[in-house]
């Protein structure tokens, strides 16, 4: 027992918040958690809080909309991509493809051509993205590491170019008049009030977190970790690696599709330019910046990647330069990400990391 303790003590300081929280009595944990969730639901009002407001507010662009159009999407996408990259260790550089499939499905189904209700288009969008994940994954998942990366990158581009050259998907003109979520009681989804989108989006985020943590702490999550750490050994220990990799792809894709569908119904307009390759790279940056494999980490990463360029609009044309430098600095000084995965952190505290 004492040995375990001493290992605990040697773990990096950032863990202490988490372990202190876990050390609290159950009632305290519940009420703290509830408070935190309530505070998050109220995020659109944060700019009105004195000091906090000065920190979070985005000059020159509306915080509320940055929250719903960018931050919300990046959180969801980071959570989804983390399943693929963080849990299962598969490098996916074409994640924007799934995001596009979700967005386009909602767009096509609810505007003009089909006029489905929003509520029916959502599950279909998720399903279509999932199918896209399986279709891409089946032939490619036997490729390893960087070969997979470049093939997925190609897939993302193929989706975008296909949308651009297909009249049925609006071609380069895109699709507009995409349905909004139906208004519900006091929550009216209108163009001038973004708050309900956040309430909806944050609820979706909570559900996704719940589902993913269930998966992470189950046989499925262990299988993913095993594949990530040593694919051959995992297979020899009875893990059906192909099946679990495909599941990771499908679940990651489904969440990407969900994010895309929400995005389409928020902005009301999609065109192929929304799904450029660069976006895939930003998605990946969000995951790694936050802490690959750590759910709270990638949420933080998603928030930062979406928010930093908007917060520092004052930097004008220099802001992407700043963003690039910040990425390098974070990686140099915190290579495991801002909030690293737990066991990975324990690894740092002990001795050299050989995870290369």
């Amino acid at each position: 027992m004492s040995l375990t303790e001493s290992f605990r003590q040697r773990t990096a300081p950032q863990l202490r918040v988490g372990s202190r929280f876990r050390a609290l009595p159950k009632s305290a944990r519940w009420s703290l958690g509830a408070l935190l969730i309530a505070a998050c639901y109220l995020t659109p009002y944060w700019p009105d809080v004195p000091v906090l407001g000065w920190i979070v507010n985005t000059p020159g662009t509306s915080f509320e909309n940055v929250l719903t159009d960018q931050i919300m999407m990046f959180i969801l996408v980071a959570l989804g991509l983390n399943v693929v990259v963080g849990f299962a260790g598969l490098l996916d550089l074409g994640y924007v493809g799934f995001y596009a499939v979700g967005a386009y499905t909602t767009a096509v189904m609810t505007s003009g051509q089909f006029s489905w209700p929003w509520i029916a288009a959502m599950p279909l969008s998720i399903l279509m993205a999932m199918i896209a994940g399986v279709v891409l994954g089946t032939p490619t998942l036997r490729l390893r590491g960087d070969y997979l990366a470049i093939v997925t990158l190609g897939f993302g581009e193929i989706i975008r170019i296909t949308a651009n050259n297909s009249d049925w998907l609006g071609g380069p003109r895109g699709i507009n008049k995409i349905a909004r979520p139906p208004s519900f009681g006091p929550f009216e989804f209108s163009v001038l009030n973004a708050k309900p989108y956040w309430y909806l989006g944050f609820t979706v985020i909570l559900i996704v977190i719940f589902v993913l943590s269930r998966l992470e702490n189950s046989r499925v999550g262990r299988a993913w970790s095993a594949v990530r750490e040593d694919e051959d050994a995992a297979e020899l220990m009875g893990v059906n690696t192909f099946k679990f990799k495909l599941w990771a792809f499908a679940i990651g894709a489904a969440i990407g599709g969900l994010a895309g569908a929400l995005y389409a119904s928020k902005v009301g307009f999609v065109n192929p330019d929304n799904f450029q390759l660069q976006l895939s790279i930003l998605f990946l940056a969000a995951v790694v910046l936050g802490g690959t494999g750590s759910m709270y980490g990638v949420i933080m990463g998603g928030i930062l990647v979406a928010w930093i360029p908007e917060r520092f609009r004052g930097f004008s044309t220099r802001r992407y330069f700043v963003f690039g430098v910040v990425l390098v600095l974070v990686m140099v000084f915190r290579p495991q990400g801002i909030i690293p995965r737990r066991t990975a952190a324990a690894g740092i505290a002990e001795k050299g990391d050989t995870n290369v």
């Binding site: 662009t61 509320e64 973004a194 004008s316």
Partner: protein, 387 residues
Amino acid sequence: MKKSNLLRAGAVLVSLSFVAVACGGSDDSASDTTVAAEAPASTCEAPVASIALQFPETGDAANLGAPMLKGSQLAVDEFNAANPDACVTLKTFDTQGDPAKAPAVAQSVIDDATILGLVGPGFSGESLAALPLYDEAGLATITGSATNATIQDQGFKVFHRILANDAAQGPAVAKYIVGALAPKSIGIVDDASDYGKGLADAVKKEAGATVKATDSIDPKAADFSAAVSKMKDANPDVIFFGGYYGEAVKLSTQLRDAGVKATLVFGDGVKDQAGYADAAGPAAEGALIACPCKDGSPDFIAAWEKAYKEVPGTYGAEYYDAANVLLNVIKGGAKDRAAVQAAVNKYDAAGITKQIKFAANGEATEASTIYMYKVESGKITYVADIK
């Protein structure tokens, strides 16, 4: 000890080299960063209102955004110089031309109560994403560049456009090609963008059977050799390219290098002296450029050249006109958004490009005219009206 010496030496060296690089670069970049500072009249001490400009200031399309800012800024500076007691500020909002960022930007324009009207949005995609918000907020918008031919049919009350859309331009260009040039065959290339492909398709439809070869290019690529080979093989008398000037430069150069002699015809996205005619040099000679835009008055050109040390860029005159509509309306007594919107709808006065008056769907009534320009001795010069 040795290590820290090394460190110091390195620090000094690196700092010096950075300073050197920055100094070397600073005179080149001056015109970009000091747009507002160079025009002395822009200090507005008692603003009565402000107008917004939504456009791509940064990102890949920033080069197209620069004249939008310069044109609007020029209008505002001149206005403020003439009306020191009731000056108006120009607030700029960068979307990078990205529809994903447009709603957040639009919301923040709307949230700023001093803003009574908006010039822009710069591109069609961001227009479609932002206009629902402006429409809901009742904030009048006047674009001088978003020429997509579907926007006017969406029922946006606040939408105004000061130049002809792609649906007007395509047929006019085709008519000019078939009529004035009477070619035996035509080749058509587009850049697969909303704008370029729309224009190319319209030309293709009008030109009919004379079209002998078509192709699309990827605007981000450097090499267009497949399209060039295709055109060389078809050997048409005229090649029309739908796209922007950056690609037009590459395409013209590569076509001429490959020995293609066809007359080159472009749409308005290519009408940029520095961006196309200067950059393509000999390869641009003789190229025809259609545009719903006009150069603007000699006064305007002189003022622009004085302020920015360059000839006016594409849409610069349209943005100058668009900003002036809002400025005149505000000067005319419109004190809130509703009044501005009403006044813009009723507006009827001469601008530097045309008589400005808007139809019910927001299109300028005088905007059906397309003007044809030609690159002669390296200068883009007016040739004819196409009615």
